[in-house]
Amino acid sequence: MKHVNDDPRFLRGAPVRQQILSDVASYVAKAGRVGRLVSIMIGDTPEVAVYIRGQARAADQVGLPFDQQVWPGDITQDECKRRIQAMNDDSDVLGIILQRPVPAHINVRSLQSAIHPLKDVEGMNPASVGNIIYNDVALAPCTAAAAVELIRATGLPMEGLEVVMIGHSEIVGKPAAMMLMAEGATVTVCHHMTRSVAMHSRRADVVVVAVGKAHLVGADMIKPGAAVIDIGINQTEDGIVGDVETDAVKEIAGWVTPVPGGVGPVTVAILMRNAIVAHQRQMAAGWLD
């Protein structure tokens, strides 16, 4: 995509990411030793490698030790759980990232629940999700929090903002809806059973799309001047695209996040921010000196 860098209608992730990472870096510099982030990959899943590299790079940038562990593909569920519990008790482990996918014999949900909420930097434990429902939104799932940060970056006041969320996944749509609601937005959640998504999206000040279907949102679905946050990542013949017809929507919308270069870069920065939130909470809980 051309001109992503100079067209002001593109809501780019890079500046938001930079700001978050630099805030995290100064926190880490001040805090001294904060423990390490542990990334767990179970079995050999090459498609995960690119994400892990991105996380490692961000961790390096903010000065957080990043421990990349690869566990054998035939490891048992019990052994995974035992290792995670040992990390829960290890004060040198600041946070735990469980990379997905995992081998078929591993129950990922039960492992996510085994990660202590104070070390759950991905915000996946049911208790972490519950905290978001209860307006305690500091440790949120990274993609949902990234969407919220990008909306904030537009400068639109959250109170009374009409937000339409297309897609109601557990990791993105629902937590983002709760977080925006906590800030005063009126949120409507649409999905595959919604009678007319366009009827909703056309009245929205902000449209957040997280479905995973290329070309899903066209210009006719957007109110002039709205902000469009595109969380979709779709591999197509034309390369990686989001769920939004970006070029057409850009002519109508006030802001649209590019794919790639929009939500993605912010997501990793949020992971780092979650790590320092985890640090603050572990300190407050008396786990650390």
């Binding site: 519950g130 429902i133 629902k174 949120v187 409507t188 059973m193 009678r195």
Partner: protein, 299 residues
Amino acid sequence: MSAAVIDGKAFAANVRGQIAEHVQRLKDENGITPGLAVILVGEDPASEVYVAAKHKQTVEVGMASFEHKLPADVPEAELFALIDQLNADPTVHGILCQFPVPDHLNERDVVARIDPAKDVDGLSVVNAGLLASGEQGLVSCTPLGCLMLLRDQLGNMSGKEAVVIGRSNLFGKPMGQLLLKENCTVTIAHSRTADLPEVSRRADILVAAVGRAEMVKGDWIKPGATVIDVGITRIPHPDKPGKTKLLGDVDYAEATQVAAAVTPVPGGVGPMTIACLLANTLTACCRAHGLTEPAGLTA
């Protein structure tokens, strides 16, 4: 046009009847009696009335009822020790602490102490998270009661426009999640919503839970909508000096002219709450023993 009245009192009695039958079967076939423990701290008269009502209905459906009354100045450690003991007690399948508790106790900490599998009020963060994650947990009683009424009234809700007014942790948010689970398109509106009447008028299913008497007028309601009124405001009775009267969030007289069905206040959602508490206790008991859960009594 005059709306159908959704009779929560009769429906709740029916739910309790189903629970009683199931409890009898559990006793006969498995030798298990579901048990509900209620903790009351202090002597708040309203709480005592609620606790007495819960006790009465628990016994009526054939469950064991365990009441624990603690003095208002009970130290937190002592309350927690009781909760720990109930968590470990296999004859107790549901535990609830009647709120409000005295100021020296923190409600969220109290709920967090209860084993999520026995948290039959469905108030713990873990149960809130399980609901939001689409996983099996216990759903708080009032939203569950509204869901049961809606299912009975509408059957399949897939694709319907649902608007919940009120974003409270205890009601609005779980209600929104439950309606999403039914495949409704859900808007949670609240005090900061720019145009509340306009948003409300979109709704095929309108659920009001803000606690402002008769706020929802007839022209806020889409013709043919189903309206669930969760609000309760007590006002001095207009005709009987010294008496009080309960009002909902919906202007009932106006709503009945527009809606297809409306819950009255009182007698609509209110009676469902204890019925759902018993339903949750039964569900928790079945899960604890690895038995099939009763149909239609959970989300």
